[in-house]
């Protein structure tokens, strides 16, 4: 109930983001139900239906990723002193956040079910009644438990991920769990926040310059600072891994593309009949791009503030370096999706019968979710820097300078990532077109 009330009174922008989550869930739910319809209509060929179900994993993952990003940005579910005074601490707020996510996802799932029934012709009275009746196996009775199971998949996965991402953590350093050895999670920011206090006590361990020094023994008496600043986000170190995985993916694809007559894996839509190894190569390429995203963003910021920077380049570059993990990860994912989309368009065959509206819907969900996640991350970064921006304005920093710095950051990122995406996409599509 509390989640409902908190959800009702939020800002229109937040409501819009939740609505987007509901839409994405609805589309994914519809894809899952479409798979169910396919399975009902082709009960003799279970393999094809299973493959379709497996392909639904991509939109599902994109939807969950987006839902987590939206929950992290939600200002209503951040620990606030006023709320913690009435007993709404971080743990309770995590529950509220998970409930809010489940709520918007369930709304989407319900929409998907209604639309599905409507297109099957089970619900009447609106246009397009039963237009897709044969496609969605209207002549078979719908197994309700199966449909409900499929529809609860996305809400359950999303709220579980949100709860895991936002779970309250002990900020105190524990022996054997050094902040710099801690891997990033999908958010990056959370990992940084957990490292906050420990890093401020043992600051040199997280500064880039000291990264290579062996682990020092803990300081005997940590300096007592009543107002410690949060340590900056750690420098991303995944760039070599990302490039290695990316190169491996391209190599696998090129190797698989040597022999075009390999018996293939049927992909609904896209590159029909391409060998499984090509698919594995594509996956590796996408993973590599996502891994390399933060490192590339950091590099971009470093170049931006490189030689004798003035105030503008200093602000633009350093902020980009600090926000590398938060912005770079979704940016890498967007690049991976964009290069995949480019390759798909290159290989698109208009006469291909397997490319249906469901494929287009799936591609749309994946693309929309990743782009929306990137925009949400940008909003989150802006909210996190609101204090600093206000202080700069009090100093008399011109608002135009701050805006120009933001534009400079965006331009630098575009200048690096757009050619990179094209290059990767061309390389990825090369073995298949040749």
């Amino acid at each position: 109930m509390l989640a409902l009330r908190l959800a009702r009174g939020s800002h229109p922008g937040v409501q819009f983001r939740r609505l987007l989550v509901a839409t994405a869930t609805a589309a994914t739910g519809f894809l899952l139900l479409g798979t169910l319809g396919h399975a009902l209509a082709h009960q003799d060929t279970a393999g094809g239906s299973a493959l379709r179900l497996a392909w639904c994993l991509a939109p599902m993952a994109a939807t969950v990723y987006f839902a987590v990003a939206v929950a992290r940005t939600d200002p209503g579910t951040r620990p606030r002193p006023g709320l913690s005074a009435i007993g709404l601490g971080p743990a309770r707020l995590m529950a509220v956040s998970a409930a809010t996510t489940a709520l918007s996802c369930l709304l989407g799932s319900m929409l998907a079910l209604l639309f599905f029934l409507h297109l099957r012709g089970d619900l009447t009275g609106m246009p397009f009644d039963g237009d897709a009746a044969d496609f969605l196996a209207a002549d078979h009775p719908l197994p309700l438990p199966a449909a409900l199971t499929l529809l609860t998949l996305v809400p359950a996965a999303a709220s579980l991920s949100v709860a895991l991402t936002l779970r309250p953590r002990d900020p105190r350093p524990t022996p054997g769990n050094r902040p710099r050895l801690r891997p990033y999670n999908a958010s990056g920011r959370r990992a940084a926040q957990t490292a906050d206090t420990s890093a401020s006590i043992d600051a040199p361990a997280t500064t880039p310059g000291y990264a290579e020094t062996p682990a020092q023994e803990p300081a005997p008496s940590p300096p007592t600072d009543p107002n410690p600043l949060p340590a900056p986000n750690p420098t991303p170190r995944d760039l070599p891994w990302g490039i290695a995985v990316l190169a491996a993916g391209l190599a696998v694809e090129a190797y698989a593309g040597r022999d075009p007559h390999t018996p293939g894996l049927t992909i609904p839509g896209g590159a029909t009949g391409s060998p499984a190894a090509v698919l594995a190569g594509w996956t590796l390429t996408a993973l590599g791009l996502a891994l390399a995203g933060p490192g590339l963003t950091h590099l971009c910021g470093r170049l931006l503030q490189a030689v004798r920077p003035g105030a503008l380049r200093l602000l633009a570059g350093r902020v980009l370096m600090a926000e590398a993990t938060r912005i770079g990860r979704p940016l890498g994912v967007v690049c991976a999706v964009a290069s995949g989309a480019y390759a798909m368009v290159t290989l698109y065959d208009a006469d291909d019968p397997s490319l249906g509206p469901l494929t287009a819907l799936g591609a749309l969900v994946v693309a929309g979710c990743t782009i929306a996640t990137l925009l949400t991350a940008a909003v989150e970064a802006r909210a996190a820097r609101a204090d600093t921006t206000a202080a700069l304005l009090r100093l008399g920093a011109p608002a135009t300078t701050l805006r120009t710095a933001a534009a400079l950051r965006a331009t630098a990122l575009l200048a690096l990532f757009v050619p990179l995406t094209f290059l990767i996409a061309e390389l990825a599509a090369l073995p298949l077109t040749a």
């Binding site: 300096p223 410690p228 949060p230 600093t388």
Partner: protein
């Protein structure tokens, strides 16, 4: 001794300000600031000190009243002109140091100069000079999160002083500090201001801090007040007050405090 009016570098007449939610902040405050002086604006929390400083520095526009800086009206300026005035002539120190976390200490201190278009080398020289004077020159290459709160506050003072502003607005610059740090920060601030002829307007609720200033303007509930010297309290009353408070030793101080507060509140609005 009253200074001639054209000696006032900044003066305000009958400032009225109301917050967006309708709560009144200033109701008819007038003051004049002479060139090179350190003026303390004192008063308890919520008495409108910060709002007065924000009005004087052109951060917000008063609903009624006038603010003049060097015979230029600030209250009629557009936002862009006020922004330029703030950048070129005014400095500002926040109660808690808000530094740009991504820049290191000297870059933070040099940022206002660089925003004005000073070359990087000259900005760095000026910033380093001030950091040395404020005893944090050895930490110039650290990042803000590696410093302690008092050091960060000194960096923000250096940042405010480095562009050599005409007027420096310090809004409770020592509020979050311990007393030892507080004295150090205040001493450096006032010494630097006096040696460079910078006018300082210092908001504080602390009488000890206000005593460092040349002159004090008291605010109470958004009005300027002059504390009137009341006739000495009769002996009997003091004794009675002491008796009631004598039960607990700690209470005695509090009793005296309320007494003094009550007398201070018996003041005339100007």
């Amino acid at each position: 001794m009253v200074a001639p009016p054209d000696n006032d570098v900044l003066w305000a007449r009958a400032l009225h300000f109301q917050h967006n939610d309708g709560s009144p902040a200033l109701s008819g405050v007038s003051l004049g600031v002479r060139e090179g002086e350190i003026l303390a604006v004192s008063g308890p929390r919520g008495s409108g000190k910060t709002t007065l400083l924000r009005c004087l520095s052109g951060l917000v526009r008063p609903q009624r009243g006038e603010v003049w800086f060097n015979s230029v009206p600030v209250h009629t300026m557009g936002p862009l002109t006020r922004e330029r005035l703030r950048r070129d002539r005014f400095g500002w120190i926040d109660p808690a140091p808000v530094l740009v976390p991504e820049l290191n200490v000297w870059e933070n201190a040099a940022l206002p100069l660089m925003l004005r278009g000073t070359s990087r080398r000259r900005a760095k020289t000026a910033a380093m000079e001030w950091l040395e004077r404020l005893d944090i020159g050895d930490r110039a290459r650290r990042h803000p999160h590696e410093l302690r709160q008092s050091e960060r506050q000194r960096v923000s003072i250096a940042r405010a002083l480095a562009p050599a502003p005409t007027i420096l607005f310090a809004d409770e610059p020592t509020a979050p500090l311990y007393r030892a740090d507080r004295a150090h920060v205040l001493r450096t601030l006032t010494t630097a201001a006096r040696s460079h002829g910078i006018t300082v307007i210092l908001a504080t609720h602390d009488a000890a801090t206000a005593s460092l200033a040349d002159r004090t303007v008291s605010l109470l509930d958004g009005r300027g007040v002059n504390t009137v010297h009341l006739p000495p309290v009769p002996e009997k009353e003091t004794e009675a007050a002491a008796e009631t408070a004598a039960d607990e030793g700690a209470e005695a101080d509090a009793g005296a405090g309320t007494d003094a507060e009550g007398r201070a509140a018996c003041s005339l609005s100007v």
